[in-house]
Symmetry: C2
């Protein structure tokens, strides 16, 4: 029903993406800085359009937390602009040539990094994702097609209008930023059929959105469903370090995907470690849900149900399990984990290395908080998302993950024998 | 209907894949050499089972070419064994750590290469793919689930039995090589739903198979549909080199995906180049199909229909088009190409570099035959396939493309501020 509209947008994006291929970093950097300045200048317009969304949200009875997330205050607008300025300063991955070697026949073979082409980003809540996604894609030489949540429709449209107008001043084809002007979910389904026009889809939002996209897309999808992160406190852990890291991983920011959700405690150390750790958590308002063995040490603790081991609480709730040894910890992570982030706390060299080798989550840490699993913390610059599927990218993604390498060959007349 | 059978196989593969994670290269190498020896020893058994397939193929009236492809002669069996021995000698990508850097807080962050886990390979014709795919996956630390064509069912089953028995001798879990014992297409569809058990699907075969897999898979798919490869002969080409390369790219092996299918000739040089090139092609039995302008130079040439520009002939047929300049050549490739392989023949530096920068096919060559676009020729070792989608891998894929990098961090108590 929307298929012709969506196809028209995708065709315009595909065409515009061709104009980005050879664009030097300097030009892209200037355009990004102009985009940031334009957002600051357009603040009154953005706030006026945002007010329509806020009013509708109030009427619809959305929660205070959701309305806060929708709001484009001065600080949020300035934050969007600053984020774009930071993206402008990142090194440009496009054009990099690596691994150039000479084959026995004299042919020079290497790989050149190129943009993917057209990237569709489907997101739900915060309107600042609109500016962020557009900037990340421009920096990496990609056209972007944006499809935000219906509750932020006016805000997103205003941000896109501002950015597209700004691109015109920089001499860049405005269609490199495409916008789906339809809030109906059918528009997403129509878009996901356009495998000849769109190279990659990144859904950012709840598990429902991500499943819908994965199940209906003919286009490759980069996704992460959830972060059920574990910390294993080994029998030879430095306990003072373990208290500090386990507290940080749970309470420093419980609502994010790299917060710890399940604490695994090595049996020989549980009797010493658990009572004091529980006391620290109690002071910070953390609710514990334990296995039978853990409850033998802490009778007041709620019992953990089977679903608690799979849960991404995103809250001050923690599942606690006592395991017999490292192997049981690894098996537990394999069964219940989400391939996001896991840490071991230990002073034992062999078990640290075994944990690093055998846990195949996208980030594995020794003696550090799971909260470090983040593009910024890893030095990738702005984060495009986190992939928990072992295809294309795994773990925090930077702008390099919005590119791919092609093979290039310099010959002097070689033919195949 | 087969879903429980397929799920059981996938679960066994997933479990077995865990045993490969920490396996040293030496152990994998020994196991591969034993597999090769086992295939040679089992030649009588393989030929006996192969005879059943050949008999059925004769009865079904399959073409001589198809029956040839099915046949497991002594030379084919020896070739399978030698291919496995070569795979055993490749460097092992698993465990490699790269980019380890120290963050400002002292955290050491790097990336470690790990197997994908479980790879499903769905293929059609030659039974030697069975041995090849199993060896490539074992070398890269992956369990494999094989699903070959129904016409080679007995041959494939015999190869798998031989390889699994051999693994037992090497102390490796035989379930790292899984086999779908059902020829019904429904079995493929059931397998493609198992996104929690299988990490990647690689279809190898005709466009129909690949489309079926892509459209029905919840699991990421690495694919290439076809190779519509172009050569652009620039106005400043060394014409002797151009004749040599254009002949090689079309006739050296016309039935493969990196053979040239469309020749683009720069207008200023067409009057000199085309008549002699046509004469060379005539001697080699190549049928030319030209655009109107080309036919003005060669009136005997058949006219090319619109569909000829999209065609992967895989035969001694070539579409020929005269273009006004490099830009028209690039536009033609963008519109009709398949993102596989394109070459420019030129002595002009600027246009060579423009072609390399602006053509975004998976392999781009200057002054060399398209036939070089191949894992072996590029030094990747045995080829896993060729990807023409810009996700995960692009172009010829080696065993490294059956792995991914996870982030690993070595800390000394870091917490997030």
């Amino acid at each position: 029903m929307y298929d012709e509209v969506i196809k028209g947008i995708a065709e315009a994006s595909r065409k515009a993406s061709r104009t980005l291929v050879g664009l030097p970093s300097g030009v892209k950097g200037q355009a990004l800085k102009h985009m940031a300045a334009s957002l600051r200048q357009a603040a009154p317009f953005l706030r006026q359009e945002n007010a329509k969304d806020l009013e509708a949200a109030e009427k619809a009875g959305l929660s205070r937390a959701m309305i806060d997330r929708l709001s484009l205050g001065e600080a949020v607008i300035d934050g969007m602009a600053r984020a774009i300025e930071e993206i402008a300063e990142l090194p440009d991955p496009v054009g990099t040539i690596t691994g150039m070697t000479r084959r026995p026949n004299g042919l020079m073979v290497g790989r050149m990094r190129i943009p993917l082409g057209v990237v569709a980003i489907i997101y739900e809540s915060r309107p600042n994702v609109t500016a962020d996604a557009a900037a990340l894609c421009l920096k990496s030489g990609n056209a972007v097609i944006l499809r935000g949540g219906s509750e932020a429709f006016n805000s997103n449209a205003a941000i896109v209008k501002t950015l597209r107008d700004s691109l015109g001043f920089s001499g860049i084809e405005p269609d490199v930023i495409g916008f789906i002007p339809v809030t109906d979910r059918q528009a997403i389904l129509d878009m996901l059929r356009l495998e000849d026009l769109i190279d990659l889809v990144i859904p950012r939002g709840g598990e429902g959105l991500i499943r819908t996209v994965s199940e209906n897309s003919l286009i490759p999808v980069l996704k992460h469903y959830k972060g059920v992160c574990h910390i294993f406190v080994d029998r030879q852990a430095d306990l003072e370090m373990a208290y500090r890291i386990c507290l940080n991983a749970k309470v420093q920011r419980p609502g994010v995907c790299n917060a710890m959700e399940t604490l695994l405690v090595d049996a020989p150390v549980a009797g010493i470690f658990l009572p004091r750790m529980a006391e620290i958590y109690r002071k910070h308002g953390v609710e514990l849900r334990g296995c039978g063995k853990a409850r033998a040490h802490l009778p007041d603790m709620k019992p953990a149900a089977e679903e608690d081991w799979y849960a991404e609480f995103l809250d001050l709730i923690l599942a606690v399990k006592i395991v017999e040894d490292l192997n049981e910890a690894i098996d537990h992570i394999e069964k219940y984990g989400s391939n996001h982030t896991e840490a071991i706390i230990t002073e034992n060299y062999t078990r640290a290395m075994e944990f690093v080798s055998h846990v195949d989550s996208s980030t594995v840490l020794v003696n550090a908080s799971t909260r470090f699993s983040d593009g910024g913390e890893f030095g990738l610059g702005a984060e495009v998302g986190i992939s928990t599927s072992k295809v294309h990218a795994y773990g925090p993604m930077g702008i390099e993950d919005l590119t791919i390498q092609k093979f290039i060959c310099f010959g002097d007349g070689q033919i195949r024998q």
